[in-house]
Amino acid sequence: MLYPTQYKTLVYFFSAALLFGCGGGGSSSSETTTNGTHLSGAITIPSFSVIDSDINNSQTASVSNSTISSAQEISNPVSLGGYVNSPGKGASGNSFVNGDVNDYYKVALKANQIISLNIADSNADLDLYLYTSAGAFVSSSLGANKNETITVTTDGDYLINVVPINSASSYVLSIGLVQSASVGAETQLKNSFSLTAEFAENELIVKKKTAQKTSNLFSSTQQPVIELMDMNTLQQQQSMMSSLKMDTHIMDKMEQGTSELQKKKLKTLYTAKALSNRADIEYAHPNYIRKTSLIPNDTFYPSQWHYQMINLPSAWDITTGSADIIVAVIDTGVFLNHEDLAGQLIAGYDFISNAARAKDGDGIDPNPNDEGDGSSTVASSFHGTHVAGTISALTNNNKGVAGVSWKSKIMPIRVLGAGGGTDFDIAQGILYAAGLANNSNTLPAKKADIINLSLSGSALSQTLLNAINAARDAGVIIVAAAGNAGNSAPQYPAAIAGVISVSALDAARSLAPYSSYGSTISIAAPGGNIRADLAGDGKPDGVLSTVANDSGQSLLSFYQGTSMAAPHVAGVFALMKSINNSLTPSNIDSLLQSNQLTVDIGASGKDNLYGYGMIDARKAAEAVSGVINTPAQLNVYPLSLGFNVNQNSHTLIVDKTSGQTLNLTSITSSKPWLTITHPASQFGSYTLNINRSSLSTGIHTANVTAVSDTGGTKTVNIVVQVGSDLNNGDVGRTYVLLIDTQTNATAKSFQADSSSGQVTFDISDVPHGTYTLVAGTDMDNDLFICDDGEACGGYPTLNQLENIVVDGTKNNLDFVIAFLDGALNISSDSTSAFVSNNISQGTGIKLDTSSSGFQRQEN
């Protein structure tokens, strides 16, 4: 029988024998038997991954894409890994000595796609250019940030160009994979140094670091810290220019602008960047031009004093209108072929029921062309054409005149003919414009938002009153001329409660001599006074707008009248509705009564000459950027959605802002392959689903449109990427590493190129142990894989690496590899801390190509 102490000794001996007898981990692993232990697997490369054909990796052959003619053709969407360097910058390798100063890629792009360049090395400065396929400059992003972005504006074939500025770095260029919602305007604008921005091409703003002594750059010891410099003077300072150390290829880029102005601007931008890199300079940037108001280029705009007077140019900074907004001009009709109204008119109607008055041979008909309002051979006034032009003349088209609301549409309604118009015809015209039943037995495709009535009479009929009230109840804002009677007798429809009645001003903001006035006046606007030239422009102070003559010529003319004042107000209301298209007549009244649309003139407060005052377009536009009594609005998020090759559903939030009641009338998809799943109630999370079975490889687009019962619409733009089954992704020469988790040393490595969208590996003679399996590329040839911008993957996924215990052959160790563009979120509780940390920090894993464990793919 054994005693306890004897048992203990036996246990010790037994354990020791066991311990020494068994193979096991630790430093003694290399002594254990490993022959025949394989680790194998397949690393999948996403089908949209592409490698720059000329990178620094000295183990790969470079195929140049450094000129436009040798541009590398790539697919779209794409995640492309690349490398560029200025001569002598970066690690030694293929391009260290001579530099790789241009990478050109040829690709077909679609409007609204984002081209995003992620620059791996935070000390590097790379720039992004976009050209047409013929080499004409389109756009650029020239900042010194980690990301450069360009948004494509039109479909087409393009060249993308990546350029290093005195530096070297890997980069990831992605197209069509970053959605516009996630790249905000601020990101795009910040330091983007865009060539298309407006700045004084010969100036720079330079701020020197105050701690620095005076340098040769500045003229004296006593000087402001921020200085405005002239490029011409700077360029004459040879020593200063050479101190900026600009590569010759940067000098070449400066010459790439297609116009002298572009070349100057490029020089200025690059000089600004180079100056910013000087030790004694805090920053340098172009002197951006901030316009306080938008000036249209119409030939006769300078004669339109009446727009300046109501602050329209600064309102145009906020909005120039929207094609969704319709203003009905109920008048003599419009000369439909006027050159300066081309494209601004939608369908209308001629409600003149008496053929003689209509001068067009019949009663009511769908043709609202102005056939004349002169009796017998009396000349026509083309009054309706003049009113329409004030509201929405074709603006900024380098000819003619400007309109108040550049983009809204005119619905011409003809009710005035020879000798004027009748209540009955006018009432029908009002009902039609408001989308209500009328004697034409037709309705417009879309009702008008605003009605302009530059007509009046001294009597009020029930017919007219009913039509006005019905239109207002239907949500139409009604504006009317106060009348030219020059007294306080009410004129109709202006004096009807609920109609915005407009009196006329001359060029000195005083009541025009002809203007009606009285307690029913709501607001005042320019009507003109041809007797005077208070505008001081050598011309009579009329309102200039579009007219015609009975010979069918497009003309312009100065007219005066409350007829001319009303359309200024109607046009400003169209601008307001472009900002907030759910504005109701009550909203307009509230805004007017709280003095938010006008500047008070005449007697303080509301008065009988000017109502609440002169319309102020800027004030009115500002007022509807969500201030008081905001009606509820339909809210859809996001307004832009992309489905990557593997995504089949996305969430869409549909909601309403707080405020008045609003209901969702419909939410529809424009394509049969995009379906919508509704939540339980009308507002909440909707799911958009893609059925790929009918979709070919490439990019497909669709819209989802949500409509509310107040007539508001929101449209979501959708882009779907469909990848090919061929899986032809390629990330270039790939290194598969086994990292010993005990020593953090690279125990084994295997290199291979991709084939059919995969890199297969078979690592033999692997000692038993615990490893992290990771793979990556070394585009910059710094002998580290998986540093920023390079392709990287790990088992089972890079986000959450796991240790592999090797105690025999293991197959099917499959995982995915992709370019690291900073979007990777590596779990901090991975058991493979060493590898995870080095990858997430951007250091990478050391590639020891000299180690005896380095194996290659058999070719």
Partner: protein, 178 residues
């Protein structure tokens, strides 16, 4: 009626024919014809009809062609319209502007009722219609100043009388020649 002695005429004609000149007898013939007329149909036309004319007062006066060409407050978008060839026109025609004066709305204008100048006792008669809108009409609220430029064939009349379609005389003015 000719009252000449035919015999000496024939002898004269014979002499003239020998010198290849027939003009003198023809002149005498024409003048005799003219002198014997008591009525003559000369034409009048609406040369230009505008609803925006310079000047605020109702008036009638003779004007030069150049003033008419410069009178429009409306103009073309592009190149200046080629001016009509007005050479020599003033040799044969007078231009008469008749204006309604400033009106508070559209619906007013002047139109020519007859295209013939009725001349009696060296006074030419012109008939125009003064258009105005009906009292119940709804009207375009634009200030207008309608006028008409009449083109009159020159003739031996010293006065113009302008009447409306109620045969009321509106104006009586002297022609430039007198």
């Amino acid at each position: 009626m000719l009252k000449k002695n035919s015999a000496p005429f024939k002898m004269r004609a014979k002499q003239l024919s020998q010198t290849n000149c027939f003009l003198i007898p023809m002149c005498f013939f024409s003048v005799a014809l003219l002198a014997s007329c008591t009525t003559n149909a000369l034409g009048v036309s609406d040369y230009k009809n505008q609803n925006q004319c310079i000047g605020e007062r109702p008036m009638a006066s003779f004007v030069g062609i150049q003033e008419i060409e410069n009178s429009a407050l409306s103009f073309s978008l592009s190149e200046k319209a080629k001016p009509e060839n007005t050479d020599d026109i003033e040799e044969k025609f007078w231009f008469l502007k008749i204006a309604m004066g400033t009106k508070p709305s559209a619906g007013y204008g002047l139109s020519l009722t007859s295209k013939q100048l009725l001349i009696t006792d060296q006074t030419a008669l012109i008939k125009l219609k003064w258009h105005q809108p009906g009292p119940d009409s709804m009207l375009a609220q634009v200030i207008t100043s309608p006028c008409i430029y009449l083109k009159l064939q020159k003739g031996k009349y010293n006065n113009i009388k302008v009447i409306d379609d109620n045969d009321q005389q509106r104006y009586k003015i002297k022609t430039p020649i007198s």
